[in-house]
């Protein structure tokens, strides 16, 4: 994809998100002028960006949004929920279009209708008079509405300007839509030739009349093109020209107003070029800038620049930056003279400028322009001629080369009371000076540091070998010294990269205002959302895996927890329920609490439901207390809502939440008080990048076991093993612990090896609240490592949570204790 388009999509996404947020903020502060200005600017800029490409659907919707916000900004219409809703929808639509563009680099033709509807819905909120303006083009259109002639509004701006010039010169233009029938080639027609030969042709474009099939399926004998032409020829001439295909041609007299219609989308297409072809940036599909075109642009620019300088000099205001303004005009004129190679003119301008600055009047420069402009324009237009033959150069006093424009002397008039530049109020709203970095780059850095951390572990081995194998104790000590230095640096690097990966929880919290607003409105509930300590940080992966569980919980709270206003009133609670989402860092964990003041969870109901669904048996039903009962909502397949809504309540919510949280070594606890509300507390590690792992040996292989699972290591004499039913057990610290052989669990046939004292190595692990002894051959050290998830074919092995590279180059498999037990 072309890099400009990539940039556009990335920026559009950021802007859309920003706009969504600002709209929500507006709901709380509808009269905040700063906010509305900001909002307007964002939509305006986004619209401007889309105008660089041929995405009329997007531009049109954004244009309407911009107009609407402009009116809100100017106080012509009031901000309302309705307005926010429609704008939010429009922004969602823009996001969808971005997704379209991302996948196909174009917007599907079917979107045009949605765009029109969306635009209509936005314009519908504008006062009637304002609505007229964009629709005015249709007033005089007897036969064709603006919709029927889409290409006219999509013409490049320059072309429209040129066509408009023809109109103003009194020419009557006709717009032609020529849609050749599909089998026209078999009727002896040559549509392209016919279109090209249209008399008085001023502009022409072709585009597919239906979606083009893939190249393999393309039937080259079937015409799927449609031509749009603008011509100055009369109706009679055209009827004559198209006499063989009259039924395929529609001719409409152009109303000049259509050309003035400032739908600001105009890319820079080739003349006869399909729309899908030019759906890229003009920079990439730049017109074959022939000499003719460049010459035209240059002439136009010369005239425009002169006219502008004249207009500036004629301004009748006297602001305190007037001197600077005049000096800039001087610089432009001097440069124009230099462009023309006319040093004499340059020094004349310089002299006039100095005079103007000292007198505070522009008359001298204006006078110079009036008398010498034509001459300079002439030499500029003919500037391709050799400079020496330029007649201007021979003129008059042969002064020194004029100073370059940028050295035009300092102002001689007093600068007035202009504010001296420095830090000021605007600075306070400064955006963060952040660097946006592709995640892949961070991941790469992370991987490299991971490898460094592991490679450095090879040094102690080396030191040991130096001493034991080669007997060089001195070298061994030196290696160890170097090791400690590298070790420290590696640790710091690891820490630094962790810091880079830290994200604030606000990135997920910011989704909630919209979510809560939409859902609560759908459910007819009044909910106030309170977000606390959004700036709490955690590792990116943690934050990302937190998003889905949190959304589940929030949906549940809104759906099942918080009551409708009527019920709340009846229960003596404020009608508006409060949902608080709070983040906090506690030691090396981040804790998220979701608190609602809804109806709470009734343990009796839960118990009953769980019993009915067969999740607990009768004895459990009798035995468990309220706390345990409430925690049953984390069991799979339990739904307590009387009515299953489309939001939640299919009973898949909470158990999904728990497994998602546990997957990243988190815990989730629920606390609920009937009638008062529910608090759900999720605790997660700050970072999951470095895992402390204990290495064990079994059947000559090494395995890693996360320290989170390890309780303790013990040696049990073989004779103390007990056989209970089919399984092994041992009495440890006064309790019976079931023992399993790691070999058996991994399908290795070898039996556990005992040491010389006939003791077996037992690693006590905990999984899901239960303690189990793993029989292994031996324990090794505990190390911190960066776990990499198994990928590809191996990712199906649930017994392992990942792998890591060891200092000696070998790969360590890390066991997923919860799965294998």
């Amino acid at each position: 994809m072309n890099p400009l388009l990539v940039q556009f999509l990335s920026e559009s996404r950021d802007f859309s998100q920003d706009i969504g947020q600002k709209l929500l903020q507006m709901e709380d502060a509808p009269s905040d002028q700063g906010l509305i200005n900001e909002l307007f600017r964002l939509v305006h800029t986004l619209k401007g960006n889309s105008g660089l490409f041929t995405f009329p659907e997007m531009t049109r919707v954004l244009h309407a949004g911009e107009d609407l916000l402009g009116m809100v900004r100017d106080g012509r219409i009031a901000y309302s929920r309705e307005l926010a809703d429609r704008l939010l929808n429009a922004i969602d639509f823009v996001m969808e279009l971005c997704a379209d563009i991302e996948s196909t680099e174009r917007i599907d033709a079917s979107r045009a209708k949605d765009a029109a509807r969306m635009t209509e819905s936005l314009r519908g909120l504008m006062p009637a008079v304002e609505c007229e303006a964009p629709a005015s083009a249709r007033i005089n259109a007897a036969a064709a509405t603006a919709e029927e002639m889409p290409t006219l509004a999509e013409l490049p701006g320059a072309t429209r300007e040129e066509l408009l010039r023809h109109c103003r010169a009194g020419e009557a233009l006709n717009w032609i839509s020529y849609a050749p029938v599909h089998d026209c080639f078999f009727q002896g027609d040559d549509p392209f030739f016919c279109a090209r030969q249209t008399p008085g042709l001023l502009w022409g474009g072709a585009r597919p009349s239906e979606a083009l099939p893939s190249l393999a399926e393309l039937d080259t004998y079937r015409c799927v093109l449609e031509f749009h032409l603008v011509t100055s020829a009369s109706r009679e001439e055209l009827d004559e020209h198209f006499r063989y295909v009259t039924e395929q041609v529609r001719i409409v007299a152009v109303n000049p107003q259509w050309l003035e219609l400032t739908e600001s989308n105009h890319a820079d297409p080739h003349c006869i070029a399909g729309r899908s072809v030019i759906a890229n940036a003009p920079a990439q599909t730049a017109p074959s800038s022939g000499a003719g075109e460049a010459w035209r642009e240059r002439t136009a620019a010369i005239n425009a620049i002169f006219a502008a300088q004249q207009q500036i000099l004629m301004l009748d205001d006297h602001p305190d930056w007037r001197a600077g303004r005049i000096r800039a005009v001087g610089a432009v004129l001097v440069n124009l003279a230099r462009s023309a190679g006319d040093q004499v003119a340059a020094s004349e301008i310089q002299a006039a400028l100095t005079e103007c600055l000292s007198t505070g009047r522009n008359s001298l420069l204006l006078l110079w322009l009036e008398t010498s402009k034509a001459h300079l324009i002439a030499s500029l237009s003919g500037a391709s001629a050799p400079l020496s033959t330029n007649p201007a150069a021979t003129r008059s006093n042969g002064s020194e080369e004029a100073p370059p424009a940028s050295e035009v002397g300092p102002a001689q008039s007093t600068p007035g009371d202009g504010i001296k530049f420095g830090r000021r109020a605007e600075d306070s709203s400064a955006g963060p000076r952040n660097l946006k970095v592709d995640q892949a780059k961070i991941d790469r850095l992370m991987n490299l540091i991971g490898e460094l951390v592991v490679s450095k572990n090879a040094l102690p081995y080396l030191a040991q070998r130096a001493e034991t194998q080669f007997g060089v104790r001195e070298l061994s000590r030196e290696i160890k010294g170097e090791y400690s230095v590298i070790n420290r640096i590696a640790d710091e690097m690891q820490d630094a990269i962790m810091q880079v990966r830290m994200m604030t929880v606000s990135s997920i919290f910011q989704r909630f205002p919209r979510l809560v607003r939409d859902i609560s409105r759908k459910l007819g509930k009044e909910v106030q959302l309170v977000l606390e300590d959004e700036q709490t940080e955690a590792d990116k992966n943690i934050i990302e895996s937190l998003a889905d569980p949190l959304i589940h919980i929030v949906r549940n709270s809104l759906d099942h927890g918080l009551e409708t206003p009527e019920i709340r009133r009846a229960r003596g609670k404020p009608e508006t329920g409060t949902l608080t989402i709070r983040a906090a860092q506690q030691a090396d964990r981040v804790v998220i609490e979701i608190i609602d003041d809804g109806k709470g969870i009734d343990p009796a109901v839960i118990k009953q439901k769980a019993y009915e669904k067969g999740l607990i048996d009768e004895s459990t039903l009798e035995r468990i207390d309220d706390r345990e009962a409430i925690n049953l909502i984390f069991a799979a397949g339990l739904s307590t809502a009387a009515v299953i809504s489309d939001l939640s309540g299919r009973g898949v919510g909470m158990d999904v939440v728990r497994s998602a949280v546990e997957k990243i070594n988190g815990t989730v606890v629920i606390h609920s008080e009937l009638g008062m509300g529910t608090t759900i507390r999720i605790s997660l590690p700050l970072s999951m990048a470095v895992t402390q792992v204990m290495i064990v040996e079994s059947d000559g292989q090494l395995f890693g076991i996360p320290m989170d699972n390890v309780v303790e290591t013990v040696r049990v004499p073989k004779r103390e093993l007990r056989k209970i039913k089919q399984s092994l057990a041992a009495v440890l610290r006064g309790r019976i612990v079931p023992l399993k052989s790691l070999n058996t669990m991994l399908g290795i046939s070898a039996t556990p090896l005992a040491n010389s004292d006939d003791e077996l190595a037992v690693l006590l692990v905990q999984a899901g609240g239960e303690i189990l002894g793993l029989l292994v051959d031996g324990f090794r050290e505990t190390i911190g490592l960066i776990q990499k998830p198994l990928s590809g074919f191996l990712s199906g092995l649930s017994a392992y949570s990942g792998s890591a590279l060891m200092g000696d180059g070998s790969v360590l498999m890390i066991l997923n204790i919860r799965e294998i037990v």
Binding site: L4, F8, E11, E38, R41, T45, K47, G48, N49, G51, L52, P156, G157, A158, T262, A267, D268, A281, P282, E293, E297, R298, A300, A301, I302, A304, I305, A308, Q309, L315, D320, W321, R322, A323, G324, R325, R327, A328, A331, V332, N335, L336, R338, S339, G341, L380, A383, P404, A405, S406, E407, V408, P410, A411, P415, G416, G418, E426, A430, G431
Partner: protein, 123 residues
């Protein structure tokens, strides 16, 4: 090499203008808003300014006014806007712009303006 400062808050537009100007052999620098542009313009003498109107912190009008107040060499400035209205054009001239182009600017159009305003001889 002539140096042009692009002042625009939209990264897409900056990239677009940069591409055009660099293809014309100009050195390009960027500023994201008026304040940043002013900081840069006070540090270095640019030969041309390409200024957007709507920007956060300090808009194009504010930037140009402040720029024109400074007692430094005054480079020509092109203002680019999405609005074709004459009212905006006059406002741009009042603020200190030397010409006014409507977005999206055609590559050949921008190059023609830049070359002339920078005093480069014919193509």
């Amino acid at each position: 090499m002539k140096r042009v400062l692009i002042v625009d808050d939209a990264a897409t537009v900056r990239m677009y203008h940069r591409g055009i100007l660099e293809s014309g052999g100009f050195a390009v620098e960027e500023a994201l808003n008026g304040i940043e542009a002013l900081e840069k313009a006070l540090e270095a003498n640019y030969d041309l300014l390409l200024v957007d109107i709507n920007m956060p912190r300090l808009d194009g009008f504010g930037f140009l006014k402040e720029m024109r107040r400074q007692e430094i060499p005054q480079p020509p400035a092109i203002m680019v806007s999405t609005e074709a209205a004459a009212r905006d054009e006059t406002a741009a001239y009042r603020a200190g712009a030397n010409c006014y182009l409507v977005k999206p600017v055609r590559p050949s159009q921008l190059l023609a303006h830049a070359r002339l305003m920078l005093g480069e001889a014919g193509r």
